[in-house]
Amino acid sequence: MQNNTPSEAVSTAPRSAMLIDHVSKSFPILNANGTPGRGTFNVFEGVKFDIREGEFLTMIGHSGCGKSTLLNIMAGFDKPTEGGIIVDGKQVTAPGLDRMVVFQSFALMPWLTCFDNVRVAVRSAHPDWTKQQVNQHTQKYIDTMGLTGSENKRPALLSGGMKQRVGIARAFCVDPTVLLLDEPFAQIDALTRGVIQDELMRMWQTVNATVFMVTHDVDEAILLSDRIALMTNGPNARLAEIIDVDIPRPRTREQLIEMPEYMRLRNHILKFLISHSRRAPAAQETVGTPAAAAAPTPSVEEVCS
């Protein structure tokens, strides 16, 4: 099987790190009393794209479009109803060190120190290393994320921003094929967020990682990404388009807001999101599934925030 080379643009595109091959996810509709009802609720269907080696790809969509579900499927936490995930020419179905996840909720082991939270990942990735090698490698990533001095603190003593730094260090230190970031800055206050975004970018550039991020923050997506994938509203969400971000790096927030290209992209994405939030009720009628009523329709303010 030659799945690692997508049929389009074979000559120009760099090697694909991960192929999301016509993935659909649907849940059985439950009656009010919890028994299985008739029919299924399609979260998204036929999602197909590839993540190129070394790129930063961000997916944007309204809440309920299934972007976190898609990320869980890519990580192996969840199974797709149709289609599959292909990494290095092989289909993957279980979680693994080649697809490390940065969690929205940090998911640090609270009984371990910061250092040990990172070290446990290094040890898993390199079982043959000596203790000294493991410690050195761990320290390198701790330092890159600006955690020097907090090595022996438990996560409970740290702010959200510091916790997510540990989460990012833990994910990068095993050198995964693709990094999956599930709304990594959603629980961090706005001022700290910018600093950690910069650190994430520095880390991504130093280790040449491939990153897939899910977010609903438009500015964050433009600042960090090479390409941005836009999802329509669920149910029956689809991948609408993938847009290129043609802004040279290194990017800074101050430069960005003065660039016409930035404003063009921002308006494009916002228009897309707003038009899809207006169209949402109509989409529900055509689908006609009772569970569609549960999908929230975010306000314009929420989109622009």
């Binding site: 936490f77 969690f103 609270p110 409970a156």
Partner: protein, 296 residues
């Protein structure tokens, strides 16, 4: 305020001490008896009382109450005297039933420790096994719910009949008191471990063993320790009546021995010893439990 007052946290200690003083004084006043007043008692009545040993003559030939024949609750001075007497020979052994107080404390602590540690070990093991499988937890939970409220002493006749040895029965009563809260809490803690931690474990390709010892047990540790704490308390409560009913030497049985001797000061002394031993064991447990817990 001077620095040392703040540092030593003097205020609560001062209040505790004065409360103790007030209680002792109240106890003393409530139990103190007036000196014997002859009043208008006839010589015949006095002779009868002297013959019964209620009153004796002191060195000046005056009648006083016989201090050896006190009725009612003894005062703090009598209990203090008893304490001094017991602690003057803590390691003596006179026959089968008269062992020094240090021996008795040791018997109780070792009996309690064996039963509690065995229950902790078995309880954590069974709890983890049940907690790992939601199916098993749901099917075993009804049994746990029925077994948990049974008083450990209710098992005693059955245990005595089965194992025949009172020494072993006393340990098993402690075991029965301690096992159920540990099983229930461990199973609860293991089954409610946060999904995130398990996801990290599967990302990092932990095998079953590493997953259990690096994620599940540390994650469930606060719940397990909470279960052990409940077990510890109920085992400590169960050990005293178990000793009494089985006639096994220990601080619990001491109360009963002193009651048989009609030595109420001795009974009060034994109660105090039970309290102090329980407090010391609890301190030890807390020392051991510290460091296992974590804050989210």
């Amino acid at each position: 305020m001077p620095d040392w007052i703040v540092r030593l946290n003097v205020a609560p200690k001062l209040i505790s001490l004065s409360l103790l003083g007030v209680m002792l004084l109240g106890w003393h006043l409530a139990t103190a008896r007036d000196a014997f007043v002859q009043g208008n008692l006839s010589d015949t009545e006095l002779m009868t009382m002297e013959f019964n040993g209620d009153i004796i003559r002191d060195e000046n030939d005056n009648y006083i109450f016989n201090p050896a024949k006190i009725s009612g609750i003894p005062g703090p001075m009598a209990v203090a005297k008893k304490c001094r007497e017991e602690f003057s020979h803590p390691f003596h052994t006179n026959g089968t039933n008269d062992h020094g107080i240090a021996h008795l404390v040791w018997y109780t602590i070792s009996r309690f420790s064996i039963g509690f540690l065995a229950a902790a070990f078995v309880g954590i093991f069974v709890g983890v096994m049940i907690g790992l499988s939601p199916l098993l937890l749901q099917s075993i939970n009804p049994f746990l719910q029925v077994l948990k409220p049974i008083s450990p002493l209710a098992w005693m006749p059955l245990l005595l009949y089965t194992v025949q040895k009172p020494q072993l029965t006393a340990i098993l009563v402690v075991f029965m008191a301690a096992i159920w809260p540990t099983i229930a809490n461990t199973a609860f803690g293991v089954s409610n471990i946060r999904e995130d931690y398990l996801r990290v474990a599967s990302l990092l390709q932990f095998n079953w063993f590493r997953r259990l010892f690096k994620v599940i047990l540390p994650g469930a540790a606060p719940a397990i320790v909470a279960g052990l704490r409940i077990s510890f308390g109920s085992a400590l409560v169960a050990v005293v009546p178990a000793e009494m009913l089985l006639g096994e030497l220990g601080v619990g049985y001491l109360t009963w021995i002193e009651w048989n001797n009609l030595d109420i000061a001795g009974v009060l002394f034994a109660i105090l010893v039970v309290g102090v031993v329980g407090y010391a064991m609890d301190l030890l447990f807390n020392r051991a439990a510290r460091g296992v817990g974590y804050a989210e």
